[in-house]
Structures are given as structure tokens and as C-alpha cells.
């Protein structure tokens, strides 16, 4: 039987094109007909250190990167050392050193003299493209496709890089022919474009009518700032890098108040600084989006690694009590959906919407449809385009909790967007009855939000023996692990997209199962805490992980089987 899923990894010091070469290889694999999903590891520095880029590809859908590697390329000596646990007895380990001198007991260690080969070509920067040539041979890829994409990617140095690919391919043919993998042929992908989660969120934001984005750089959220900054002119966006996260959030609130479909983006530390603005949006009923891409804390934590440690931080963000919505994308496609859907929810509910992603989803790439052409529904909410004198911005006459809003510039629509408790016009009040009425009006939005926010998805049968529950980035890993299970039909999987407010449907779904396993990429199992606070919830097993690394399918498989 042909193995259907393969994983390869390129590792070396920063600055050698580990990620760019890796992404090029991902594109080659997509064009060759495979579904890909990638994962990259890098330290918080610019040159040197240790970077790794991994691709898992398959002729069926690849949901998540695997832990075990089939082919490993060390760009310079020694860069295999931290990856030994990922090698199996069949792993091909390409190193630029004498295999006999290495104390490596696992896998097949093969000498690939990258330095010598690239020196012959007159450049020390083509080790990555030489390796692509080797990978093309090992995985039996069509050299025409490889060359086409290499030439397109390195347009300024295409001759050099094409020669490098050929050099790698020929070297592999001469030396590694007995190690060639039997790879099932791919078929043309319907989803041919490669994006990471942060770009996908950016495309969702653009297609959802987003036009204002302010963010202070913070890994791993910065990708969206970079991406949207390059799209400013084409899509008439205002993209701002302000003085700090406090300004980013308050500026975005000002933009939303002035009529923009607006978002800010950051990671946990920056979001901590934005907390007061979340509260401001709650009382002033300004609908704006906070894109929170988590990394492990506390404090500066592990800046370039992943965790789901900010769920309760997001849900309980902002002092005081007010409605908010917290949604979490599980993968690339949901990042796109939520880029748009968060803007719709913010507009329809006039309250803060927090999208909780993480490094694993935000900075990992997969193939999907062309998002620059994808269409989504744009919902503007209850905006008045003309107003009569005496306009009540915070009218108490509302079933949904949402009152009509006017945008500055609209005659007679003048009102005060007031951080103090206020009356129907926005003027401050300390009246006991009115304060209660205003609180109650806003609180009605919680029921409205339950109706509007994304519903949970149940994979598998509600008659299955066991229910797996998770949220966010563990989705792909769980689906990939289930693909590996011999008794896949024993499991149902509940993917919760809206974490706040809690949909009562979750209680009904979970009640149908005796055995419940919760999987979270954090330490204190925050989803369990959350669900316990909402209904009688007693999972039989809780699987957590909090070392900066995502779960891998093999790990979940081992725990479930």
C-alpha cells in the first residue's frame, strides 16, 4: 500500500531562506496535486539561531502537520540535533557532514554536501533550492512544475536557482536512488492557493468590507498588519501602526465610531493593554474587532511559539459587565470566515468582538481557494442614514438590545459616545433606574449574539461512544488523528467556534455522551472551566499541553486509541 501522507522538514540558522524555500516547496507540492499544511518554528531573533519549516502533504486533505518526519534536511551541520525525537527508523536525514561521525541511531543518515555544491555554483544562498531539487527527486515530483515555480519565485536570480535545483536533483539521482519514496500521484487541487491564517484573516477582513486596521507589532499577530499594509492602496484601506496597543485599540474605536469597519490585532500582552478599550466599546456600544493571536505567556513568555492560554482572558476582558462576543478559528478557512464574520457581528451587535487565534493557526499555511476572489455576506447593522431632531442613539425601545446608530457627518444624528453611563442621547447619568435600564438594554445583546454567532460543529455521529470537545487550533490535529484511528466511528468531535456567549445547544449536545474528552493547548484547561461555569459539565478526560508546541496528530492518536 502506498503511504498517503508524507512529512518533510528543512532546518537551519535564520537567514538561509528556510521559510521562503519551504513555502516554495509547499507551492510546488500543491501544484503537483497535493494538499499541504505547514508548520514553522523559529526563535525570537533575526540572524542565526535555529529555524525549522515543516510540510505535511497528502493526496487527501492534510489537516495538520505530523510529528514524525519522512525526510529531513539540515542546511548546516548540527541542525538535526533538536529533531531526533521526530525521526523514525525510516526517516531520511540529509546532513552536510560525515554520517559516520554522527551519533545518530535512528533513521537513514545521508550525506548531502550542500556547502560544496553551492560553492561550485558560486553562491552560499542556494542550499535551500538544492534541497528542493533533492526533495523533488526523492518524492518523485515533476521537474517541470518545480522549475516553473522556482523561476517565478526567484525571478531576479532564476538561472542560478534553476541550476541549483538541477544540481540537487542530479545529485539525488546519482546517490539516493534506492531511497526514493513511493508517493501516490496527486490530482489537481481545487484549492490551489497557499495562505497562512493571518493572511486569511486579512482577506476575510477585506472581503467583509473592513477598511480600518490599526496594530502595534507583536508576534504572532504581526502577519496581518504586514499583509493589510500591502493591500492599502488596492482596497482603499487605512492601515496604521500607532505608538502602542492602547492607542491601536482606542484609535480603532474612534475609527469605528466615525463609520469604519474596523479591527485591531495583537497577542496576549498587547491585548492586556487593550482591555480598557474593550470595556469602552461595551458601554459606548462601538462595534469593533480585536484579533487576538495568542502565544504562550505569562508576560513576554515564548514569543514565537503557540498556546491557547488567552481564552478566559478574552472572555473576561474589560472591567465591568457588558456583552461581548468571542469566536475562535480552528483553521485557515475559518480564519478567513471570521475575518469577515467578526466585522458583521460587530456591526450588528454594536459591541466588541474578539477573535482568538494563535500562532499555530495564524502562522501556519495550507492550501485553499483564491481568497482574493472569495465573496462573503456584508452586514452593516442598524445604521441610520438620516435622523430627525431628538435622535436617540441609545434608544431603550429595542428587543435585540441594539439601538440605531448614526455616523458623524449625518445631520441631526449628533450624539455623545460616552464612557460614562448615559441616557438615550448619550449624556451622562447617575440615575438609578436609568442606569439599570441601560445595563439591561445592553445585556439583551447576549441573546441576540447567541442567535448570530457561529454555531458549533459536530463531526461524526451523535450515537458515537465518545465525544471529543475542543476549540480553535486543535481542530486540524484532532481531525488528522481521527483519520488515523482504526475505530474512527467510535468518536464524535465537537468543534466550538463561539466561546462567548455560550450557546445552550452545547449542553444538549454534550448530555448525549457518557464519555467526553476535552483537548486544549493550554495548561489549566480553560474551556472546561468555562463550560463548568455554564452547565453541569464533567468530562471524563482532559488532555492539555502547554510547552509552546502544538499537539501533533500522533500524540492525540496515542491518547485516544
Amino acid at each position: 500500500m502506498l503511504s498517503k501522507t508524507f512529512t518533510l522538514k528543512i532546518a537551519g540558522p535564520a537567514g538561509l531562506g528556510i521559510k521562503s524555500g519551504g513555502q516554495l516547496l509547499s507551492k510546488i507540492l500543491i501544484e503537483s496535486g497535493y494538499s499541504v499544511t505547514d508548520y514553522n518554528e523559529y526563535p525570537s531573533l533575526v540572524r542565526g539561531g535555529h529555524n525549522a519549516y515543516q510540510i505535511t502533504f497528502s493526496n487527501t486533505k492534510a489537516f495538520a502537520p505530523h510529528y514524525n518526519v519522512d525526510a529531513f534536511f539540515a542546511m548546516t551541520p548540527g541542525h538535526w540535533k533538536t529533531h531526533v525525537s521526530e525521526f523514525t527508523k525510516n526517516t531520511l536525514i540529509f546532513v552536510d557532514e560525515d554520517p559516520k561521525t554522527l551519533n545518530l541511531k535512528k533513521g537513514k543518515v545521508l550525506n548531502l554536501p550542500l556547502k560544496e555544491l553551492s560553492t561550485k555554483l558560486g553562491s552560499n544562498l542556494v542550499a535551500n533550492t538544492i534541497s528542493i531539487g533533492v526533495a523533488a527527486y526523492i518524492f518523485n515530483l515533476d521537474l517541470k512544475i518545480v522549475k516553473k515555480l522556482v523561476a517565478a519565485t526567484y525571478a531576479k536570480a532564476s538561472d542560478l536557482n534553476l541550476t541549483a535545483v538541477e544540481t540537487g536533483y542530479e545529485f539525488a539521482k546519482d546517490n539516493f536512488s534506492k531511497y526514493r519514496f513511493k508517493v501516490a500521484k496527486g490530482k489537481k487541487q481545487k484549492s490551489p492557493e497557499l495562505y497562512d491564517g493571518n493572511e486569511a484573516f486579512g482577506w476575510g477582513f477585506i472581503q467583509g468590507g473592513g477598511n480600518f486596521y490599526a496594530a502595534y507589532p507583536m508576534t504572532p499577530a504581526t502577519g496581518t498588519l504586514h499583509f493589510l499594509a500591502t493591500k492599502q492602496k488596492e482596497y482603499k484601506l487605512t492601515v496604521v501602526h500607532p505608538e502602542d496597543e492602547i492607542s491601536a485599540a482606542n484609535m480603532t474605536a474612534g475609527a469605528a465610531f466615525a463609520g469604519a469597519r474596523a479591527a485591531t490585532g495583537t497577542s496576549g500582552g498587547g491585548f492586556a493593554l487593550m482591555n480598557e478599550a474593550v470595556s469602552l466599546c461595551g458601554v459606548t456600544e462601538i462595534g469593533m474587532v480585536y484579533y487576538l493571536v495568542s502565544r504562550p505567556g505569562p508576560a513576554t513568555g515564548l514569543p514565537t511559539w503557540t498556546a491557547q492560554g488567552d481564552l478566559l482572558h478574552a472572555i473576561y476582558s474589560g472591567h465591568g459587565e457588558f456583552p461581548k462576543v468571542v469566536i475562535a478559528p480552528g483553521d485557515l478557512d475559518e480564519s478567513f470566515e471570521m475575518g469577515a464574520e467578526s466585522l458583521n457581528l460587530a456591526a450588528e451587535l454594536q459591541t466588541p468582538v474578539i477573535v482568538v487565534s494563535d500562532k499555530f493557526v495564524g502562522e501556519s499555511s495550507s492550501n485553499t481557494k483564491d481568497l482574493s476572489k472569495a465573496k462573503v455576506k456584508v452586514k452593516l447593522g442598524n445604521i441610520v442614514d438620516k435622523a430627525d431632531a431628538g435622535f436617540k442613539r441609545y434608544s431603550l425601545k429595542t428587543k435585540t438590545g441594539v439601538s440605531p446608530v448614526s455616523i458623524p457627518g449625518t445631520p441631526n444624528g449628533e450624539f455623545l459616545s460616552n464612557s460614562y453611563e448615559h441616557d438615550e442621547f448619550g449624556f451622562s447619568t447617575e440615575d438609578a433606574n436609568l442606569s439599570q435600564e441601560m445595563f439591561d438594554k445592553r445585556a439583551k445583546k447576549i441573546q441576540t449574539a447567541i442567535k448570530l454567532a457561529p454555531k458549533p460543529i459536530l463531526y461524526g455521529s451523535d450515537k458515537a461512544k465518545k465525544l471529543i470537545i475542543s476549540w480553535g487550533s486543535t481542530k486540524g490535529v484532532i481531525l488528522e488523528a481521527l483519520k488515523m484511528m482504526e475505530n474512527e466511528e467510535d468518536f464524535a468531535y465537537l468543534h466550538i467556534k463561539t466561546l462567548w456567549p455560550i450557546n445552550p445547544e452545547l449542553e444538549t449536545i454534550t448530555k448525549a455522551f457518557k464519555e467526553i474528552i476535552v483537548i486544549e493547548n493550554n495548561g489549566f484547561s480553560q474551556l472546561v472551566t468555562l463550560l463548568k461555569s455554564q452547565f453541569n459539565f464533567n468530562p471524563t478526560e482532559i488532555i492539555t499541553k502547554n510547552n509552546g508546541r502544538p499537539f501533533f496528530p500522533e500524540e492525540i492518536y496515542a491518547k485516544l486509541k
Binding site: N211, F212, A214, T238, V240, P242, E243, D244, I246, S247, A249, N250, M251, T252, A253, G254, A255, A256, F257, A258, G259, A260, A262, E276, A277, L280, T284, P408, G409, T410, P411, N412, G413, E414, F415, L416, S417, N418, S419, Y420, G426, F427, S428
Partner: protein, 209 residues
Amino acid sequence: MPNLNNYRSTVTPTWCPGCYNYMVFAGLQAAFSALNIPKHKLVINYDIGCAGNMADFLNTYGAHTLHGRSICMAMGEKLVNPDLTVCVIGGDGGIYGEGLNHLIAAARANTDIKVFVSNNYLYSLTTGQTSPTTPKGSKTKSTPNGNLNEPIDAIKLIENINPHVFAKRVDGRNPLELNKSIKEAMEFKGFALIDIAQECIAFGKQLKS
């Protein structure tokens, strides 16, 4: 005669009788009126503090923001809709203390927003603690043994950061000068800061003269 009522809300001002903020209030309305700014195209961002309490007394579009963040909201509004006239009303605590970083950033950007600071050298709404402009040595409620810090001169600071912006200190006790300066700031194409020197009639006496 300008129609000042055009910009007034029906809320009676709550400042202390004799507070210098009444003159800022009158001067702003006179300038809006003289420049024929329709109230629906006017967005005023109010910081938290006595000066910011003007929020309830005017009836234009407005945002009574978080403390220190009035300039941030103003920046967002102006970037989204340059057609709006965008102002900031605040005090020395909000603009020079909690929000100083935002003042500097706005001056660097030279964004066309108008910042009016009622500088009374104290936190007054919270009953008289030291502020970034409180003279060194002053005994206040939070510095009963004397303020140890050098005060900020915001005009010098901003001129140093960007000489192309409009930055001016006026004596808040002089209505003619105040009104003239507010109008100048409103007419300036770009970022404007007016530092309005005031005396807090409730808590100012504790300051060293």
C-alpha cells in the same frame, strides 16, 4: 452675532461657579460659529477630568473617552473621515500624563486635530493631586511633603518634536487672547495644541506660586 446656542446641549454645566473652563466653553463655541462649522461635521473628544466634563454641555458629535485616550480616538476619526472637524478637550492630567505618548505621536503625524488643554497644574476632578505640570516642591494631596518632579512644558516639548505644528500657550484668564488663539488653532491646517493656563479655584491655592 454668532448663534452659540446652536452647539449647546440642554444640560446645565456642572463646573464650579467661576471656573475658567466656562471661558474655554464660550471660546470654542464662538470659534465654531465664526468658522461656520455645522455641528454634524464636528466631532469633539473629551478626556476624563473637569475640562472633559464639557462633553454633556455641547450637542455635536462627541466621544467622552477613556482617561488619556481622547487623542487616540480623535486620530481614528480624522483618518476615517478627513471631512470632519475633530477636536480634543482635556486637562494636564489626561493629555500630558496618562496620554502623553499619544500627544507626541499626534504631533509627529501632524494630523489635523485640535487639542485644547485646560492646564490647571493639578488633578482637580479627583480633588487635587499632583499633575505633570505641577511646580516642583508643591504640596498636594498625593505629595504632602512636596512634589519631587520637574514639571513638563508641553509647548516646548511639542515644538521640539515637530516645529511644523501649531503649539501655543495662552493665559486662560484673558478671554480675548483665548478666543483669538482657539480660532487660530481651528484655522490652522494641521495639528494644533493650545495649552490654556488656568488656576483651579477649588484646589489651586495649595500650589506654590
